[in-house]
Symmetry: C2
Subunit: 330 residues, 2 copies
């Protein structure tokens, strides 16, 4: 089982991506294909190529963060994203991890891999670990800004399957993110979605509010991609503030981050910071396309990439893609 | 200048409301009318009634949190909310503070006070203090779940006026909360709103993302009320987690909360917790109705109420209502 990793995507590519991949190859005994500029990767990975299960797949083009996703995918067939997604399509890889342009990864996944039959809108399932006892899944974390009620019902089903298989929860509690507990509270989208969810086969616990996210009221938090993305980033921004807080104000590097982290751990806040720190979870899984695609944060450094590869490995081992296909078309 | 305070509204009414009002009357030299059950309030306020500028206005009915707002306002004309809003209408009070049923306060304000000419949708402006240097205003924090682009433009104008007069910022930076920085990122609502804001007279800095809230990128954060409410409550939930974290797990009372707070302050986290703690800001201001209405958190205890009264006093002294009328109809 090979995990393809976009070595050209992300603010800290390729150095931190390669470091994270080496760490993952070592720690998880993962079989990794680094997709990117061959000569650069040879230099960076060096001796590790022989020691670990690391290979290199050349990709001569790179898609930047500010490129238009659709155009970039169309015009750059030799980009690391296009090639990584193709490795999935051709069965040469079991999962693909990218910290690059999220829109481009979504486009390539939708157009080159295609949607699983019966899935109208693939969605991003992001792990949020604000509760001590267990992380939850928020879906959609940003793939679909405008949604209809049946889309939210499908997100709930996708998230439910993911929570069962990745978090190991038999009967996940599915909550609908809204601005009030009662059925009648919400915007038009959530009020109608609530009725669909209530009639569904899911373990629907009703509306949940923003403050329920930290409480761990639900295992699967259902939201349109606009709201979900804002919530995830708000939490992430707070995480950054906490971590930066204890650092000296001038420089800002990995060691200082750790110092801040250690101090927080001293007062027992470590787990909460971990919970709001994207580096711990590494990535969101794009559910509903014909392939296991993990989108990692653009600012991912080695640890986030290592964790994203770990998540990709679990996702591929479970073959979430195949399970979603079976559940959707049962 | 009299501040009317709903003594029957909120989870900790009437005790904590009265305590907060006494503290505000003392600390801010505020002139306060407590609206609620006369005999109970006489017992609770006791000697303070003569010492401080405290009076009691009897209200024989109470509106609970789970009552339907519109029906409650219609069926309970003697409720503390209905009477408090009437004090505003009759010019007997300059501001009204309530920690009771928010929907009922909104209904009473809309129907009994009415909207300021030219304001289509009054909105809740909530202070968020995640940035060390200055708090920001998020508008709408929950009054309007479904919005159109021209509503968001108006929220921006209301928030701009509030930031100028309450935060003292000459030219507030107005940001539109979205799921991406670029003009083209967002849902249909924000993409269209972006264009309106760009053409407006405001100091519009473009889209901001969830992680910008903690960074303090904008002074006025513009959002529909659905998303705004979820963001505010997500942040509040995290604040609660941090505060609870250092408390013993069994009991949970005011003193323990303070112990947790003190510990966080020890490691320099105090300001951030303050920033995400609703108790510090006390309330959100309903902008666009003919009266200064402050909606406080349902879980408000004395400190939150005291701070809400302080905010109400500042709002009334500035006569935000009148300024909004002038700005809107200039």
């Amino acid at each position: 089982m090979i995990i393809a990793v976009d070595a050209s995507g992300g603010e800290y590519a390729p150095h931190e991506i390669v470091k994270g991949a080496i760490k993952a190859a070592h720690d998880f005994n993962a079989n990794i294909a680094l997709v990117g500029n061959k000569s650069v990767l040879h230099v960076l990975a060096g001796k590790q190529l022989k020691k670990l299960n690391l290979t290199i797949v050349n990709a001569s083009q790179t898609i930047g963060f500010h490129e238009h996703p659709m155009e970039a995918i169309r015009n750059k067939p030799q980009s690391s994203i296009a090639i990584g997604i193709n490795l999935l399509k051709e069965g040469k890889a079991s999962a693909f991890v990218s910290a690059g342009n999220t829109g481009a990864v979504l486009c390539a996944s939708l157009f080159n891999l295609g949607k699983i039959d019966g899935v109208e809108r693939p969605a991003l399932a992001s792990l949020v670990g604000l509760n001590r006892s267990a992380p939850a899944i928020l879906i959609d974390a940003g793939a679909n800004a405008d949604c209809r009620p049946n889309h939210l019902l499908q997100f709930a089903r996708l998230g439910n399957t993911y929570a069962q298989n990745i978090l190991g929860i038999d009967l996940p509690r599915v909550g609908l993110l809204s601005n009030g507990e009662e059925d009648t509270k919400g915007n038009r989208l959530t009020i109608e979605s609530h009725q669909l969810l209530k009639k569904s086969e899911l373990n629907f616990i009703g509306n949940i509010e923003g403050n329920d996210i930290a409480k761990g009221t639900a295992d699967v938090i259902v939201s349109d991609g606009f709201t979900g993305n804002i919530v995830i980033k708000t939490v992430e921004g707070l995480g950054d503030s906490f971590i930066k807080l204890r650092q000296s104000s001038d420089a800002y590097d990995g060691r200082q981050r750790l110092r801040g982290r250690a101090l927080l751990a001293d007062v027992g806040l470590g787990f909460l910071v971990k919970g709001i720190d994207f580096r711990e979870y590494g990535g969101a899984c794009l559910l509903g396309v014909k392939g296991n695609v993990i989108v990692s944060h653009g600012r991912s450094q080695a640890r986030a990439i290592k964790n994203a590869i770990g998540l990709a490995k679990r996702t591929a081992e479970r073959d979430i893609c195949q399970i979603i296909n079976e559940v959707t078309n049962a």
